[in-house]
Symmetry: C2
Subunit: 476 residues, 2 copies
Amino acid sequence: MDIDAFRRQAHGMVDWMAEYLETVERYPVRAQVVPGEIAARLPTAPPAGPEPMERIFADFQADILPGITHWQHPSFFAFFPANASPPSVLAEMLTATLGANCMLWQTSPAGTELETRMMEWLGRMIGLPDGFYGVIQDTASSASLCALLTARERATGWRANEAGLGALGAEGVRLAAYVSEEAHSSIEKDAMIAGYGREGLRKIAAGDDFAMRVDALEQAVAADLAAGITPACVVATLGTTGVGGMDPLRPIAELCRRHGIFLHVDAAWAGSALILPEHRGMIDGVELADSFVFNPHKWLFTNFDCSAHFVRDPEALTRTLSVTPLYLQSRETGQVIDYRDWGVPLGRRFRALKLWFVIRAYGVEKLKTMIADHIAWAGELSEQIAAAPDFELMAPLSLGLVNFRYHPAGRDDESALDALNQRLLEQLNDSGRLYLTQNRVKGRYAIRFSIGQTATTRAHVQRAWGVIREAAAASG
Amino acid sequence: MDIDAFRRQAHGMVDWMAEYLETVERYPVRAQVVPGEIAARLPTAPPAGPEPMERIFADFQADILPGITHWQHPSFFAFFPANASPPSVLAEMLTATLGANCMLWQTSPAGTELETRMMEWLGRMIGLPDGFYGVIQDTASSASLCALLTARERATGWRANEAGLGALGAEGVRLAAYVSEEAHSSIEKDAMIAGYGREGLRKIAAGDDFAMRVDALEQAVAADLAAGITPACVVATLGTTGVGGMDPLRPIAELCRRHGIFLHVDAAWAGSALILPEHRGMIDGVELADSFVFNPHKWLFTNFDCSAHFVRDPEALTRTLSVTPLYLQSRETGQVIDYRDWGVPLGRRFRALKLWFVIRAYGVEKLKTMIADHIAWAGELSEQIAAAPDFELMAPLSLGLVNFRYHPAGRDDESALDALNQRLLEQLNDSGRLYLTQNRVKGRYAIRFSIGQTATTRAHVQRAWGVIREAAAASG
C-alpha cells in the first residue's frame, strides 16, 4: 500500500470513525451473535495475493461490526467502563504511526519523559501526596503483580529472585499476602503467578460495608507470625468490583507499617473519582502505602490500555524487575528512566501521548464535571430504585456503581428471586438496548449497573431505568 | 470535543501521518536530545481549562517529535525491527475508535473469533503443524512467562498455584528451567517472576554456532534429576537476540519428551521468516513442542503490540491462569474461548484486526517477498563486510542480522578494538543517519546490524554500509 492510498483510505476511515461515534447508539450494545457466527464468515486460509483496502474495510463493516459489543455505547453499563474519547483516539492514531517502542529512554526519549510528566500530572490530579513515582502499565493486573513481586523480594531480603521460592521454602521461608474477600480476582491470579499460591493468599472477611475488616486482618497477620509465616503484602482495594467497597486505608496502612508489610492499593476503577476533592476521603493514609494503581482507561476517557501505577520506592521495583544484557544497555543507563525495568514486558507502546491529549483537550475542570455527573446520575438512579416498590438496592451506592434487584411484593423466596433476576438480566442484555452485569451480593443474585461511559448522559441512565422497570413488570 | 471537531482534527492528522510516513527519512533516526530536554518543555501542572486541539497538535510537533527515535525510519537497524505498516495503522485507528475490551467472548465476539482465525492463518503461514492453538499476547516476554507458569504447574502435578512454591519447597519440591546462555534476558526475568529463581534457571552452554549444546542440556537435566530437582521447562530459542543463533529443536524436543519436560520455543524475531519455506528447517521437531511464540510486531508489518503465542494444550494454559468470579462469567462460559484465561492481564485490546488488515492488504506472497528481500540485503551486506579488508564478521549471518566489527590491519589489541568499535558505534548513532546496537560476541565488542523495517530498501542498507566505512576510515 503506497502512501497516497494510505492517505485516501485513512480519510475514508476518519469519516466512518466520526459517524460511528455519532451514531453508536443505533447498534445493540451487546453483540447479538451466537458463538461461531462471525468465524463462519471468515475464510480459513489467508489470501495469497493482495486484496484492495476497499474490500477489507467493507468486510470489516459487514462481517466484524455485527460481532462487536459496543463498549463506547452510551447505554453500556456493564463491568466497569472503558471510556475512550475523541482526543484519545487522535493520540492513538499518532502513536500507531510513530510505531515507537518506549522500552528504553534512548529508544524514545519523548515517550519516557512525557510518561514521567503525565504520571506527575495524574498524581496531582488525584491528590496523591509527594513521594510517589509513576509508570504506565497495561492493566491493574500487571501493576498488582509488580507489587506482589516487589513485596516478595523485600520480605525475603531480596533473595527470592535469586534463590527461587522453592529453595527458600526448603529453608523454612513462607510468605503470605492479604486481600479483602471482595477484592478483584486479578489479585488471586497475581498471587498464583508470583508463587504465593492460593493458600498463601489470605482472603480477609469484609464487614457489612463490604470493606476489609481491620480486626480480621490483624488476626490473620498475627496467626501467620505465630506460625512462622512472613506477612509480605497487603492489597487494599478502593472500589471493589462487585459493589465498590472501600477498604479503610489508614488503619490498614498503620498495621502494615507496624509489621513492615508492603502495602499496595488497588483503586483501578475508583481512583479516577479522586480528581474530585470531595471523594478523597478514601485515600486518607495513602502516604503510608508503598504503591497505588488506578486505570485512566477505565474512567478517565483514555483508551485501553493505560493503567497508572505509582510506587514510593522505584529502586525496589527496578531491583525486582531489572535484567540488563549488553544489548539493552545504553550510554544513558542509570542516568535516565528505562521504563522496561518498571514492569513485566520488555516492549512498551507510547501510551503517555493519549493522556497528554485527553488532559489538555478537556482540562481538569471539565474532567471533574464529567465524573461528577456520572456519580450524580448514579445517585439519582439509586434513589429511584430505593423508592420503587418492586425493587431494592443490594448495596449502598458507590460512586457510579449501583447494585439492585427486582423484588416484587410478596415474592420472598430467595432462590426464586435469584432466578427471576437472572432471567431479567439476560432479557435486558438480549434486547441490545443496554448492557449490565450480574453480581452476587452476600450470596444473592444482583444486577450491577455501572455508569461511566463518555457518551452517557442523564437521559441514557433514565431511559435504562425505564427499560428495566418495563421488562421487570412484563416478566411477571 | 464534539464529533465535528474530531472529524476535522482527524483529517488534519491523517495528512500529517501520511506526510510523516513519506518523509520519515528526513528525521535523525535516533532522537538527538539529551536527558531532560523534552521534560523541560512540558508544564509541570495539568491545565485547568480546555486547550484547543490545534495547539496540542502543534506542541506535539514542536516538543514531542524532536524526542522521538524513529522506529519506522528506513535506516533503523538497531535492536530488532518493530515494523508497522499503513494497513496496520488503519486497523489501529478503527481499534481505538471501537474501544472494545476483548477479555471475554461476550465482550467482543468478533474480537475473539477473528483472533482465533488470525492465529490459524499465522500458523499455516509459518508452517506450524496442526494441533496448536493460538492467542495474541502483548509481548514474547509475556508468552514465555505463561509457558514457564504452565510448566511449573504441570511439573508439580498442578499444585504450585494452589499450595505456593514455598510450601512445595518445604516438601522438597525443587524446579529447574533450561535455556541457552545466548537466550533473551526476558526468559531470566520470567523465571524470576515465576519463582524458579535465577538459581533455578540453568544457562546451557552454546556451541561455536551460538546454538544450545544438547549434550550440555542432557548433562544439566541428568544432574538435576540426580539431585532430586524436577526439570520443568526448556526454552529453546530460534534466533537469539545477539547473533540469531538457532537452538537445535528436534534433539531438544526429543530430550524433553523423554523426560516429560515442557518445551517452549521462543522464535520472537526469527519466526516471521518461517513464512518462507526455505527457512523452515529451524522448526524441524516443533510438532513435539508444547508452545511456540513469534512476534508479528517485530518483522511482520504489524504494529506493536502483537505477539503470536501457540500452545498445544490450551486446557493446560487456562487451568494455569483461569480465575473466574461471577462478574466475569457469561452464559457462554465454557462453550467459547475467553482469551482472558490465556494470559496474565484481564483486559485485552482488539489486536486481531491489524493482523487481518496486514495479511489481506499485502497477501502472503508479497509478505514473503518483503522478508526475503531483507534477508537477501543482509546477505549482500554480510559478504561485503567479509570481503572488506578492515572489517570482519563476528558471527555468521542469520536471516536479517549481521554482527561485525571494524578491525584495521595491524591493530590487534582486543581491548583497543573493543574501544574503537564502541566509539564508532556512538559516532554513527550520534550522526542520526542510521541506528545500530552494540553487542558482545564471545566476549568481544561487536556492532549489530538488523534489517527488517517496512520502508527499508537495498539502497538504505548500502548507504548505511557506506556511512559505516567512511566513519571507520575517519576514526583513524
